[in-house]
């Protein structure tokens, strides 16, 4: 009894809004919510991947999703820009609101969703085209850029934004695949932000990179936070502590704990969270 009251007290001291796992009662978040996930159940055919997940993703912050393999964190991430539409037999119940509008409403154009909610993948996957074309692709298919000079400017701006301009400005016509892994991943980020999405989803963006490249990408994430809302799935808990403002812990398709990253990692409320983050799992 003493323990629990103490733990509750610590929450008050830190001033963090939390979701009590047992009651799913949302404490009003102090920040404006960009994406709000409301009681989402997700199925791959008959297999249920997510159970009653509710989460408020605040605007302009980095939210990390952690948990063991198969816990549903990547599935949730892919629900956020409807990448799961590509999976046949996939079904979603509940709702996901983006700026207050239902992402899964029939009148929503999925292409538009993906322009506003961009995604960066685990393995750097630049298109097998030139560096220039990699970034030019999305603005071109969405028809947002009119002239060549406008495109040149946009490409320079995007490459500068991800800190790649100095490294590649003299070889924009070379294939994107000729870059190193870390550069490729930053190119993929540049490619995604070229159409100015509001949200960036990152699915383990550093798992294929060496520590230096990882540090560069993490540094970039911290910078991108100013303009984008970032949701990042990671297996690397140190990474979650380094880059994220808030962290959600998933286990077996359920959200176990969601709160301030520093709180969650220094004083988790839930024993399962504590076991997982401190390496006592299973």
């Amino acid at each position: 009894m003493l323990m629990t009251t103490l733990a509750m007290e610590s929450e008050t001291i830190a001033g963090a809004g939390r979701i009590e796992e047992a009651t799913q009662e949302a404490v009003p978040a102090p920040l404006q919510s960009k994406l709000s996930i409301k009681s989402v159940d997700f199925f791959y055919d008959k297999f249920q991947a997510l159970y009653d997940v509710s989460l408020e993703i605040p605007k302009g912050q980095v939210t990390a999703l952690i948990g063991p393999s198969g816990c549903g964190k990547s599935t949730l991430l892919r629900c956020l820009n409807r990448m799961n539409d590509l999976v046949p037999e996939a079904r979603l119940e509940g709702e996901i609101l983006f700026n207050g509008k239902d992402l899964y409403a029939p009148e929503i154009d999925v292409v538009d969703v993906r322009r506003q909610i961009g995604m960066v993948f685990q393995k750097p996957n630049p298109f097998p085209k030139s560096i220039y074309e990699n970034i030019a692709y999305a603005p071109r298919i969405h028809g947002v850029v009119r002239s060549r000079s406008e495109m040149d400017g946009l490409i320079e701006a995007c490459l500068k934004r991800v800190g790649l301009w100095d490294e590649v400005s003299d070889r924009l016509d070379q294939p994107g695949t000729s870059l190193s892994g870390g550069q490729q991943q930053r190119l993929c980020i540049a490619r995604t932000i070229a159409v100015e999405p509001e949200v960036l989803l990152m699915d383990e963006p550093c798992s294929a990179l060496d520590p230096i490249a990882t540090a560069r990408v993490e540094d970039l994430i911290a910078e991108l936070k100013e303009d984008f809302t970032v949701v990042i799935v990671t297996h690397n808990m140190q990474q979650a502590t380094r880059v994220s403002d808030r962290t959600a812990f998933f286990l077996l398709g359920k959200i176990i704990e969601f709160g301030d990253t520093s709180n969650l990692f220094s004083n988790p409320e839930n024993q399962e969270t504590e076991d997982y983050i401190s390496g006592r799992f299973g």
């Binding site: 996957n125 692709y137 298919i141 969405h142 695949t177």
Partner: protein, 389 residues
Amino acid sequence: MNPEQEQRYQKRLKARRRADRRFRVFGILAIVIAILFLVVFFIDIIGKGHMAFVQANVEVDLHYNKKSSINYRLAVDKEYQKIVSRSVLRVIPKRMKDNPGLRGTSETAWVLATADVDQYLKGKVSRLQDREKEVVDRLRKEGRIKLKFNSGFFTRGDSKLPEAAGIWSALVGSLYVLLITLTCSVPVGVMTAIYLEEFAVDNWITRLIEVNINNLAAIPSILFGLLGLSIIIGVFGAPRSSALVGGVTLGLMMLPVIIISSRAALRAVPDSIREGATGVGASRWQVVQHHVLPLALPGIMTGTILSLAQAMGETAPLLIVGLMAYIPDSPNSVLEGATVLPAQIFTWFSDSQRAFAERTAAGILVLLVVLLTLNAGAIWLRRLTERRW
């Protein structure tokens, strides 16, 4: 490890090395045998066929007069009548009719000799009588008869006279058939593959279609011939023996192969590319058009060209739809009667005249060159379009 185990381990290690070596030797042996077969085949074919590329020609006086316009045999002196090919003589009346200025003149010209003279000069069995042989020997001494490069083989159509028979109309026929096959099967096959691979949902209908496509690829080709006969000729009334019928029949036959190879090429495109494009907001068709198809193109083209090469060599279904007709003049349209290379080879092969034997071999060589060219083209196209990712 104790010493006993160590000993066993060493023994086993040696046995493993022996097995490795043995396997390598088997592999090399298999390759050597395959190459040996190929070499024997080529020596045989080239040995038989190369003589067809030269042909006996004879220098004679051609008389354009009233007699020869009635009986074309009389256009040459009597002793040459069995030596000069009928294919030369029989056109003389027509030439005179077309060109009246020729009437009453004579000209000395190198003309085609008969197949018997040709065979005699090449030292093969010949039906020439001794008298004729004497004439030929004399002419040879005078230098008025010799083996010249056989350009007619590549420019003429089929003929009942071996010396005048050429591969040209069969080549043209094959080309027409190929074009029809391409236009029938490639668009349909590739679009089907794209739909099945990129768009179709996995349900029992698509699975049924898949199973059927796979089965179609395994159906004996002769059945496609019967299909062509009963549907394309019987129902749609396309002219028999035409390149159109042959092409559509082969196109149907190639369809499953093209679908399967195109699907394999599409499947080889990594999903990360599709995800990347989808992730920046490309629509499904844009994903396919801008990313998947360019990457799969080399594979699709290679598969298509290889299946075309297979179609090129296909005979059985074409026999059924009548593409083995006797075609002395190359067809001018896909609706005219045509023959194709393998059918021509078969026709010559079954002819009783010995002089056709070397033409058969030469025909095979031409077919092989065409197939090798197609394969080389496939490799070249692959190189040209391949992109790294």
